[in-house]
Symmetry: C3
Subunit: 364 residues, 3 copies
Amino acid sequence: MNLLLSEIRHNPLLWLLVFVPVVFVCQKVAPEAHTLLFLLSVAAIIPLAALLSHATESVAAKTGDAIGGLLNATLGNLTELVIALTALRAGQIMLVKASIAGAIVTNSLFMLGASFFLGGLKHHTQEYNRVGARLHAGLLFLATIALLVPSAISELDATSVSRFTQQLSLGLSILLIAAYALGMLFSLKTHREFFASANVETGSETPWPMGLALTTLAGITVVVALVSEIFVESVQEAALKLGMTQAFVGFIVVGLVGGAAEMASAISGARKNRLDLSVGIALGSASQIALFVAPVLVLLSYFIGPAPMDLQFWPGAVVMVLIASITAALVTNSGRSAWFVGFLVLLVYVIFAMTLYLLPPKTQ
Amino acid sequence: MNLLLSEIRHNPLLWLLVFVPVVFVCQKVAPEAHTLLFLLSVAAIIPLAALLSHATESVAAKTGDAIGGLLNATLGNLTELVIALTALRAGQIMLVKASIAGAIVTNSLFMLGASFFLGGLKHHTQEYNRVGARLHAGLLFLATIALLVPSAISELDATSVSRFTQQLSLGLSILLIAAYALGMLFSLKTHREFFASANVETGSETPWPMGLALTTLAGITVVVALVSEIFVESVQEAALKLGMTQAFVGFIVVGLVGGAAEMASAISGARKNRLDLSVGIALGSASQIALFVAPVLVLLSYFIGPAPMDLQFWPGAVVMVLIASITAALVTNSGRSAWFVGFLVLLVYVIFAMTLYLLPPKTQ
Amino acid sequence: MNLLLSEIRHNPLLWLLVFVPVVFVCQKVAPEAHTLLFLLSVAAIIPLAALLSHATESVAAKTGDAIGGLLNATLGNLTELVIALTALRAGQIMLVKASIAGAIVTNSLFMLGASFFLGGLKHHTQEYNRVGARLHAGLLFLATIALLVPSAISELDATSVSRFTQQLSLGLSILLIAAYALGMLFSLKTHREFFASANVETGSETPWPMGLALTTLAGITVVVALVSEIFVESVQEAALKLGMTQAFVGFIVVGLVGGAAEMASAISGARKNRLDLSVGIALGSASQIALFVAPVLVLLSYFIGPAPMDLQFWPGAVVMVLIASITAALVTNSGRSAWFVGFLVLLVYVIFAMTLYLLPPKTQ
C-alpha cells in the first residue's frame, strides 16, 4: 500500500485520482449534470488507466517472459476494452466502433507524432532501428487492412445486406483472433529478439510485488468499469451540449483517454532518445486493437448487449485508419526523425479531429 | 517422349494429368453434370499449366538469353490468357475481368505470402536483396496504378458514359503494351543485371530438347483451350450450386489454378532460402498480367467475342488490387522476412476470398 | 539590361518572350480569337516563368541564406499563384482547384518522371541520397494528406453541407500556413543541412545584380498577371473548341506551364547525374503548393473574387493527388533510378492526362 502511495506521490498524472471519488459523489448528487459528469469521468479514467498499465507490467515482470509478455499484450489495452464493453452493453454500437477506429488512429498518429515532436525538440536528429520499425509498421498495415477491407469492399459495392455483414464480421473476428494468437507466438516465442526493446519498458519503473499488482489489477478494472458506466451514460447529452458529434467523442476523446498511460511511456522514451521504444509501443498498441480488441468486442456482442455488433465502419473511419497506418509506415521508413516530421504527423491528427468536430451529425 | 514421361513420374503435380482424359469423357457422357465438370476441369488445368510452364522454360533455355527471356515473359501467363480468351469468346466479360484482377492479387498476396510463410517455417529469418525487391514492387505498383486509375476516377466521378470508358480502355491498352515492350527492353537488354536471379529459375530443372518443348507447347496450349471451354461452360451453373459468386470463381479459383505452376517454383525457391527468386516470380508475374495480359484481352475483344471489353473494374476489385500492390511494396521493403509476415499476407488474401465468397451476387 | 539580354540570348526558352508582345497585340486586334489567344498566352507565360524564377534566385543569392531561402520558398511558385489569383478574381473556382491539384501532380509525377527518364537515358543507373529523398517524400505525403483528407472524408460521408465545408477549409488553411511557416524554420534554420543540396541550384547560373533582379521580379509579375488575364478570359471558349474539359486545362496545361522553369532546373540536374537536386526541386515544389499556395488562395478568396473558395476537391482529383504522392514515396524509396522507372512514372501522368482529356465535361 505504501508502494502504491509513493507511486502516486511521484507521478503527477496520478493526482488526477482525486476525480474518482468526485465523479461518484457527483453522480449521486446531480445525476442530471451530464456535461459535468462527462468531464469528471474523463478526468478520472486517465489516472486509472495509468495504474492499470503499471499493475499489468508488474504482474508481467514477476511471471517471467512468456506469460508476462502474454499478459502485457492482452491487458495492454484493457482500459479501451472496458470502456467499449460498457458502451456495448448500453447498445451504443456507434460509440464502440468510433472508439476502435479512434484508438488505432490515436496510437499511430498522435502517440507517434507526439513522440517524434517532443523527442525532436530535445534531440536534433533521432535515429532508430529501421528494420524493427518497418516490421512493426508492416504488421500494423496488414492488421488494419484485415480489419478494414470488408468495410471498404462492401461499402464500395453498395451492399448493405445485413446478413452478409454479420457473417463476414464473425468470420473475420475469428481470423483476427487466430492471427493475434499466432502473433504472440511470433513475438514472445519464435522471434522474440525483434521485439526485445519493447520489453525493457517494464524495467524502467520499479515493479510492484505480486499481491499488490494483482489486487490493483482486479480492483482498478472494477473501478474503471464503474466510471465508464457514468461516462457512457453522460456522453450523449454532454456531447450535444459541448457541440461534439458522437463520432468525435468516440474517435478522439476515448482514444486519447484510453491511451493516456501508453502515451506517457512512449513520450518519455522519446525524450530519452529511445525512439525504438516509442515506435514499438505506439504501433504495437495500434496493431493490438485491430487484431484483438475489435474482434473480441464483436464476439462478446453476441452475449452482452442488445444487438450483435459487426465490423462495418463508416467510410470516413475507413479512410482515416488507412491513412494513419500508411502514414506510420512512410514516416518510420527512414529510421530517422526530427521535430518537423512529428509536427506534421500531429497535424494530420489535428486535421482529422477538426474534420470530425465540424462534421454535422448524421441521422444514421 | 521418355523425358516427358520421366518428368511426369518425378513431379506429383503432374499425376493430376489423369483428369484431362477424364474431363473429356465426362463431358461426352454427362454434359449436364456442371459441378462435376467444373471440378474436373479445374483439376485438369493445374498439371497442364505446369507442363506449359516447363515447356516455355525449355524453349527459352535453348534459344538463348534475349529471345528466351522474351518468350518466358510473354508465355509465362499463357494459361491465364487462354482461360480468359475462352471466357471472352463466350461473352463472359465479368469472369474475364475478375480473373485479371484475381491473378494480380493471387500472385502478389497468395504467392508471396505462401513463399514467406513456408520459407519462414524452414528458415528462422530470411534476408533477400532489398533493392531488387523494391524495384519489382515499384514496377508492380506503377503497373497496377496504370491499369486501375481510370476505373477509380470514372467510378468516383460517377460517370458511366460507355463511349468514354471504351475510348479510355483502348488508349490505355495501347499505352500498357508499349510500356510492356519497353519493360522487356529494360529487363532483357539495358538493365538485365537487376533481373539476373529470376533467370536462374530455368536452370533448376533439366530443359527438354527443342522439338519436344515446341510440340508440348503447341499441343498443351490446344488442350488447355479445350479444357478451358468445358470450364467456362460449366462454371456458371457449378458456381450457383456450390454457392459461389462469379466474382469469387474468377478472382480466386481462376487465379489459383492459372498460377499453380509459378506458385510451385516460387515456394520451392523460398524453401531453398532463395527469396529473391520467389519475390521476382510473384511480383514479376503480377506486373505482367497488368501490363500485358489485360491490354491484350481488351484489344482481342474487338475481334473475338460478342462485345468489346473495357478496363472498367468494379470498385471492390480496384480496392483489392491496390491493396495487394501496396502490401507487396510494404512487406518487401525491409528485405527481411519471417513466417508471421507471410501468415499475415496470406490472411489478407483469405479475408479477400471470404469477402468475395459471402458477398451476395449482384444483378449487374 | 545587358545582362538580361545576354541571358535571353543564351537560353532558348527565353526566345519565347517574343510571344508576350504578340499576345497583347492580338488581344487588341482580335479579342474574339479565343483559341489563338489561349495558345499565345500559354506560349508567353513559359519564358516569363523562367525569368521570374531566375530573378527570385538572384535576389535570394544576394540577401544571404535565411532571407534568401525564405524568398525562394515563397516566390518559387509565384507563376502558379498569379495565374490562380487571376482565375479566382474571375470567379473560376473550378479552374483554380484544378490548377492546385494539377500543380502537385505535375511536379511529383511529370517533373520527377522526366528527371528519372532523361537522366536515365544518359546514365545507366543513378544513385541518390535515399534518406533525404525519403524525408522529402514523407513531407509531401503528409502535406497532401493534410490538404486532401477533409475532401475525402466529407465526400465519402456524402455530406455536402456548404457551411461545414467552408469552416473546415478556413481552419485547414490556417493550419497549413502555420505548418508552412514551421517548415521554413525547419529547412532554413534548425535542420538546414538536410536541404543543403537544393540551395546549390542558385549557384549554377550567374546571379543578377540586386537592382535588376528586383526590377525584373516586380515587372515580370505584372506582365504575368496581365497575360494570365488573357489566358483566363480565353480558356473557357478555347477549351471548348479544342475539345478539352476545364479540368484538363487546369490540371495539365496550367500545371505544365506554371512549372516550366523548375522543370528545366530539375531535368538539367538529372542530366548532370545530380538526382538529389531533381528530387528536392520536384517534391519540394509540390509540398509548397499544398502547404502554401492552396491555403493562401482560400484566404485571399474572401477578399478578392465573387465567392469564397473552399478546399473541397472533386473525387478524381483527390485520387490523383494521393496516388501521385504515394508514387513519389515508393519510387524514391530505393535511392536508385533507371530510365524505365522514369518512364513508368511518366506513364502514370500520361494516363491521368488521357483520362481527364476523355472525361465528359460535368454540369457541376
